[in-house]
């Protein structure tokens, strides 16, 4: 047994030039590796779960492999950057979560319409686990609308291999390709056999074309390219048909569903009794292979995550050729992540095979445990500056709302970021039903403010402000809207793992750049009320500032600026500096519980009915000492 290079530190290994070597990596790291093997020269993204790790990994290797890697201001810009580079003949990619694909869409259409020269890959990660606040969206539906082929890996190894091939295919057909992953693939982990790193570096060259006719002729060119791709996918290695002679049942499994199907067939002892079509290109489907399967069985089960995309196409193929086959799909599989239980359940129903696991018993056990277990909704971290800002904001907003009349409540339009956790008790400063999209807090607030006699407060993060918050702020100035915009500026992209953005002063690869200040942007837009606060400095001052902002007749901006607690903690650790925690003086504490019931820092807990601060968790921010009405909280003495 040989100790491989696997044991070397992580940041060096993904770029290892050792074909045949096995490395363990996440799906997203495998995509980054594939891009390096393919010789990608430009990669751009806006971070978003579960896609972030691709460009994060590439950013660490950018200098070593002479790539341009950037965090772009949003997904539309990220796509455009990759498209521009591909127009100049180099290989380029953009990465985004599926929600970001909606943002990029206008430009994505353009690339499919015009065609490209250098390989152009768009990685879109579908958040099939439905853990984020923006709901399920299926990349494949968007791809179909724009005639862009979709590759979908079943395994982490395939994610790497497909990425390499996608660039070649994109160049072969002169058309962009999409790599679609789902949560379990992007965050799945596996050993991966490395391929050769291309090492090819191309000079950019832009070819000026004579004015081409728009409209119908251009669309016809798209259809022609797409028809060639439609034919070619039948022989792609990731589409595999295993026909079993005499089998009555066929399974069509798309992407990651395939591995669940394989394991379920083994668990149900149906191996070798069922025909299986593994799909690696959900769009366009390998029609020849689909027809072969449909004509050889009586019944088909389609297994896929999210929309019934493959299912409807398969049904259309069967209908077109009048193939007499019963097709099952979403009625047995459901819309979310595929699991062992879902596939075993569906296969048991269709075949009558007995499940080796008694799922009803497991449900009973879960029910037995439910009452013993705490709820764990997402909370802002211990020491998070957003908690302090939102505590002050709530106090100010309640007071100003009362000035509007008895029983009037402030309206808080939330955005997409860590601060949306402020909607949970005890703060409750985020109206969940007013969540729309990145930047949506300000736009939706503009509408509410036109018709509501109440303070309307938009809360948006720094990275989100640059992403999509600027146009609606211009709108508020332009249309003289009385709305308060609170920018919760923690000097990083917090929710996705602390990436750089236009306000941080560094790029994705750690180079220094101009730090664009949000207050400067607001000033340039013509906002007349702009104030900057530090939420840890003085809650009293913060409350007063928010009150004045809400009373201002016109759009007002308050930038609440304080470094993210996690970034602060890791910097302290790096410097070897100690965190000095706070404690509750039990002689002074009256057990009023205000620190718990109104502030809610997770480090403030109860032991033997007494309020105490968990010194292991406390970050020493000291805001609870300001919240305490009895001055019973103090910082421990530094040693």
């Amino acid at each position: 047994m040989v100790m491989t290079k696997e044991l070397a530190p992580k940041k060096l290994t993904i770029g290892l030039d050792a074909p045949g070597e096995r490395l363990v990596m996440l799906g997203n790291e495998a995509i980054a590796r594939g891009a390096i093997e393919a010789g990608v020269q430009v990669a751009a993204a806006y971070p978003g779960t579960p896609s972030t790790e691709v460009v994060e990994t590439l950013s660490r290797l950018a200098k070593e492999f002479d790539m341009h890697v950037e965090w772009s201001t949003n997904e539309k810009v990220a796509f455009e950057v990759s498209y521009g580079a591909a127009l100049a003949g180099v290989r380029a990619m953009s990465c985004m979560k599926q929600v970001g694909l909606s943002v990029a869409l206008d430009s994505v259409k353009g690339a499919a319409y015009n065609g490209i020269r250098g390989g152009l890959l768009l990685h879109s990660a579908d958040e099939t686990a439905a853990r984020s606040p923006q709901g399920l969206r299926d990349t494949r539906l968007i791809a179909e609308r724009e005639y862009i082929p979709v590759l979908e890996p079943a395994t982490v190894q395939e994610a790497k291999d497909m990425t390499v091939e996608a660039f070649r295919l994109s160049e072969e057909f002169g058309h962009p390709f999409i790599l679609r992953t789902v949560t379990t693939l992007s965050h799945g982990r596996s050993d991966v056999v490395l391929g050769k790193i291309s090492g090819e570096k191309r000079e950019g060259s832009f070819v000026k074309l004579p004015p081409a006719p728009w409209g119908r002729p251009a669309e016809v060119a798209v259809f022609k390219r797409f028809d060639k791709i439609k034919e070619a996918v039948n022989t792609f290695p990731w589409n595999q048909l295993k026909l079993v002679k005499g089998a009555k049942l066929g399974i069509i499994a798309s992407g990651v569903a395939y591995v669940y199907v394989s394991e379920a067939l083994r668990a149900l002892k149906l191996d070798g009794k069922v025909s299986v079509l593994k799909i690696g290109t959900p769009y366009p489907l390998p029609e020849t292979l689909v027809k072969k399967l449909l004509t050889s069985v009586d019944e088909v089960l389609v297994v896929e995550e999210l929309n019934p995309f493959v299912e409807l196409h398969v049904k259309a193929i069967a209908g077109e050729d009048n193939i007499p086959v019963k097709i099952h799909g979403k009625e047995l599989i459901g819309p979310f992540e595929v699991s062992d239980r879902i596939v075993i359940g569906a296969l048991s129903k269709v075949t009558g095979a007995a499940s080796p696991i008694d799922f009803a018993e497991l449900d009973r056990i879960n029910k037995e445990m439910a009452s013993l277990l705490p709820l764990r909704p997402y909370y802002a971290c211990v020491g998070c500056p957003h908690r302090a800002s939102q505590y002050a904001l709530k106090r100010a907003a309640m007071k100003v709302a009362r000035e509007y009349g008895k029983g009037v409540e402030p309206i808080y339009t939330p955005d997409i970021g860590c601060y949306s956790t402020g909607g949970n008790p005890p703060l409750g400063v985020s109206d969940r039903n007013a969540t729309s999209s990145m930047g949506g807090s300000i736009g939706v607030a503009c509408g509410l403010a036109q018709v509501m006699k109440a303070p309307v407060i938009a809360q948006i993060g720094d990275s989100t402000f640059f992403h999509a918050g600027m146009p609606p702020l211009v709108n508020a100035v332009f249309n003289k809207t009385k709305v308060t915009v609170v920018v919760l500026d923690n000097l990083t992209t917090g929710m996705t793992g602390f990436q750089a953005h236009p306000g941080t002063g560094t790029t994705a690869v750690g180079d220094e750049t101009t730090a664009i200040k949000i207050e400067d942007v607001a000033r340039a837009f013509g906002v007349k009320f702009i104030e900057i606060i530090d939420p840890f400095d003085s809650l009293k001052k913060a409350i007063d500032t928010f009150e004045r902002a809400m009373r201002f007749d016109g759009p007002s901006v308050v930038v609440s600026r304080r470094i993210c607690a996690q970034v602060y903690l890791s910097a302290m650790r790096r410097k070897g500096e100690a965190i000095i925690p706070y404690y509750v003086d039990q002689d002074k504490c009256t057990q009023c519980d205000v620190c718990i019931t109104q502030f809610g820092c997770p480090a403030i807990i109860k032991e033997d009915e007494k309020v105490v601060i968990d010194s292991l968790q406390c970050t020493g921010c000291g805001v609870c000492a300001q919240v305490c009405p009895h001055n019973a909280i103090f910082q421990e003495q530094s040693k």
Partner: protein, 197 residues
């Protein structure tokens, strides 16, 4: 050749389950094994439920532990161990930290959090063996409370259930951390390991 080994690490965000999954995956591959797994990272906030999966063997294809088949669970947080109990086989071993991480919702009177005794009793009911410990106290003894996850990993190895060689996992820990942190982490690993042997 191992056919199927299923392991689950459960905890709350910030406890280091993702790091543990990464270390185990690397060590297994260094030992020549095939690995599958996943990180249920959720959002970046600390305090949410987090799980990490490690599967070793020729039959393992999916990134998740199939329900009712887990061989060993490392529970960095007792309630999170219990929350995932249905992934475990009746024959499984559960190594659990007995330090409860309270939730703000519980303090606000929304939902309950059972006593540690009750949680361990339930874990015992649906597994073959439960080993509980104060991992933070042991980690402090090793030099840093932050090594509690490594104590728990050592304890997992102490049960003899994990099909990765001890020397390999130790070498992986050393390669991952700097010289200073390696010493306390190896000590943490051994404290956990010796507790379960």
């Amino acid at each position: 050749m191992i056919e199927e080994f299923n392991m689950l690490i459960s905890g709350v965000g910030g406890q280091g389950s993702v790091l543990m999954g990464e270390l185990l995956g690397r060590a297994a591959v260094a030992d020549g094994l095939n690995v599958k797994g996943s990180e249920i990272i959720g959002l970046a906030q600390r305090g949410g439920a987090v799980t990490s999966v490690l599967r070793i063997g020729s039959a393992c294809q999916s990134p998740m532990v199939p329900l009712g088949t887990g061989d060993i669970m490392i529970g960095l947080e007792p309630a999170e161990a219990l929350r995932n109990i249905t992934y475990m086989a009746k024959s499984s071993i559960i190594v659990v930290n007995d330090r409860r991480v309270m939730s703000v919702t519980t303090l606000l009177g929304m939902g309950t959090y059972a006593s540690i005794e009750e949680i361990i009793e339930k874990l015992k009911k649906y597994s073959s063996r439960v080993i509980s410990m104060d991992a933070i106290a042991l980690a402090k003894q090793a030099g840093s409370a932050r090594s509690a996850n490594i104590v728990m990993m050592g304890a997992g190895f102490g049960t003899g259930k994990i099909p990765v060689r001890i020397e390999t996992i130790k070498a992986t820990i050393e390669a991952r951390f700097g010289a200073r942190e390696s010493i306390s982490n190896i000590k943490a690993f051994e404290l956990g390991y010796n507790l379960c042997r």
